[in-house]
């Protein structure tokens, strides 16, 4: 793997973001709106619900975690779509970049995009709602890392679809997160789901991450098993996603999609 090439692709997106104030604003705008909205809802539930009575900010904390996942995944897809929209796709794929280098570069750029959006929103939660996500303690790092891995896994899966099927796959790119959200048990415990849906939920890392976050905030206990299960599942899905990306690239070379996307 060549770090200079990885840096080159990172630089392409860094220039793009830093050149345009509206782009930076756009990155910050949605997370801030989302978290402010959930902040007020969270306040309302904390006041009127017995379940949330002793844990002000559960919904808001979960909203922040979910938004991080959403931004990472969308960020990865956006970087990939950006190449298609700017008709730069061919230039990228005729350069000597390995697929692994493209993935690593987009993964790190997606993290920066997500943080640009989320950090200001997280900073707002304390003065506005008196809530700090740092209440999750040291586990917060593992929860974020787990969400980051799952976010980029989804991003890689969708980008594999874009590679294989071309820009017609774009709509799926936007809807993936909404499809997965109900099974992620972001705002409610997994017991709420019907039995069959619970089986689907337990096959995804999200349920363990959000159950863990609630457990820490409500019971002040850390269940390492949840974090462990989330990581194992993440590794399985990430491996599948990367394999699928390679497969899609080879299929795109066979079917001619790379040429059609590029022009």
């Amino acid at each position: 793997m060549n770090l200079i090439r990885i840096y080159g692709l990172f630089l392409r997106h860094f220039y793009l973001i830093t050149r345009s104030f509206p782009r930076i604003l756009d990155l910050i705008y949605w997370p801030t709106i989302q978290i402010t909205l959930w902040g007020f809802i969270s306040n309302f539930f904390a006041t009127y619900s017995t379940y949330y009575n002793n844990a002000v900010g559960i919904i808001l904390t979960c909203a922040i975690l979910y938004d991080f996942l959403f931004r990472t995944s969308i960020g990865f897809n956006m970087l990939f779509l950006e190449e298609i929209w700017s008709r730069n796709f061919t230039n990228l794929f005729i350069s000597p970049m390995r697929i692994s280098e493209i993935i690593v570069s987009l993964v790190s750029t997606a993290l920066i995009r997500a943080l640009i959006g989320l950090v200001p929103a997280i900073l707002l939660t304390s003065p506005l709602f008196g809530i700090s996500i740092l209440n999750l303690g040291f586990s917060l790092f593992f929860l974020f890392l787990s969400l980051y891995i799952f976010g980029i896994t989804l991003g890689i899966l969708v980008s594999a679809g874009l590679l294989r099927f071309g820009p017609s796959f774009e709509n799926i790119a936007w809807s993936t997160m909404f499809l997965i959200a109900p099974f992620g048990c972001i705002y409610y415990p997994v017991d709420i789901l019907p039995n069959f849906f619970q089986k689907i939920a337990f096959a995804m890392p999200l349920v363990y991450i959000f159950e863990e976050a609630r457990m820490i905030l409500i019971d002040q206990t850390v269940n390492v098993k949840n974090i462990y299960k989330a990581f194992i599942l993440n590794l399985v899905y990430l491996s599948i996603a990367i394999s699928l990306f390679y497969y899609s690239f080879n299929q795109a070379r066979k079917k001619g999609t790379l040429i059609n996307i590029g022009e």
Partner: protein, 245 residues
């Protein structure tokens, strides 16, 4: 004689359609080879395979004596491509684009390379301009600078002067002639501009329906088909007047 590009029995099928049917040709070092043919004849598919964007269904493809499929990344670092149908990122400045591509091609002395190319291609004044805001002639020169950033051994040109005014078109052709002379690179030129092909190419391949139907130097083709110029030869062959055998 050293061949930089060797194509042997190359085929490309899309499900039931045969886009390229068993073509073979070579490009010598320091040669410009023209690839001509009507739209849909298989030129883009052929170039796509030579750039690694398409996987051949059969046949062998070597560049700089290396098999393409086994040495894809190494070969890609030695070739480059320019086409009016693909663009550099529009929101970046010319300089930023050249830096990005210089890094993607892992160019060691990037600053000097950019300076050299911008000087030769009259891009100095445009370096800090947004690429998307340039005229087609300026964009074309910026794309050419990107295509030469890695000092390619083989350059693939797909209608490099399409949509350019005659002055800029002539500048680009002269630049390519001089650059080839100084750097001994091989060029595959796909173009519908027959004057350009006559001027730049040592030899020409005529494609139709996925096969090479004729080849030779521009003057030998003109003589062989008893026409006044290459354009008339092109029209004769693409309309299917079956006199070329």
């Amino acid at each position: 004689m050293k061949y930089l590009v060797e194509v042997k029995n190359l085929k490309k099928n899309y499900s039931s359609k045969e886009a390229v049917k068993n073509i073979s040709f070579n490009i010598e070092e320091n040669e410009v080879l023209g690839l001509l043919g009507p739209n849909g004849c298989g030129k883009t598919t052929t170039i796509g395979m030579l750039l690694g964007l398409l996987k051949p269904s059969a046949g062998e493809l070597k560049i700089d004596n290396m098999k393409f499929e086994k040495n894809r990344i190494e070969i890609l670092s030695k070739i480059n491509f320019i086409s009016p149908y693909i663009e550099l990122p529009k929101k970046l400045t010319v300089k930023q684009n050249l830096i990005v591509y210089g890094k993607l091609y892992n160019i060691k002395d990037l600053k000097n390379r950019i300076e050299f190319l911008t000087e030769k291609l009259r891009l100095k004044e445009l370096l800090n301009r947004i690429t998307g805001e340039l005229s087609s002639g300026q964009k074309n020169r910026a794309s050419l600078a990107k295509a030469l950033i890695n000092k390619p051994k083989v350059l693939f040109l797909d209608e490099p002067t399409a949509s350019l005014d005659p002055e800029i078109g002539d500048f680009v052709r002269s630049f390519l002639e001089n650059y080839k002379k100084e750097n001994k690179i091989s060029i595959l030129l796909a173009s519908h501009n027959m004057n350009e092909v006559s001027r730049l190419c040592k030899s020409v391949l005529m494609m139709k329906n996925g096969v090479i139907i004729d080849s030779g130097t521009p003057s030998s083709l003109i003589d062989k088909h008893g026409r006044k110029n290459l354009e008339e030869v092109f029209l004769k062959l693409s309309r299917g007047e079956n006199e070329f055998n």
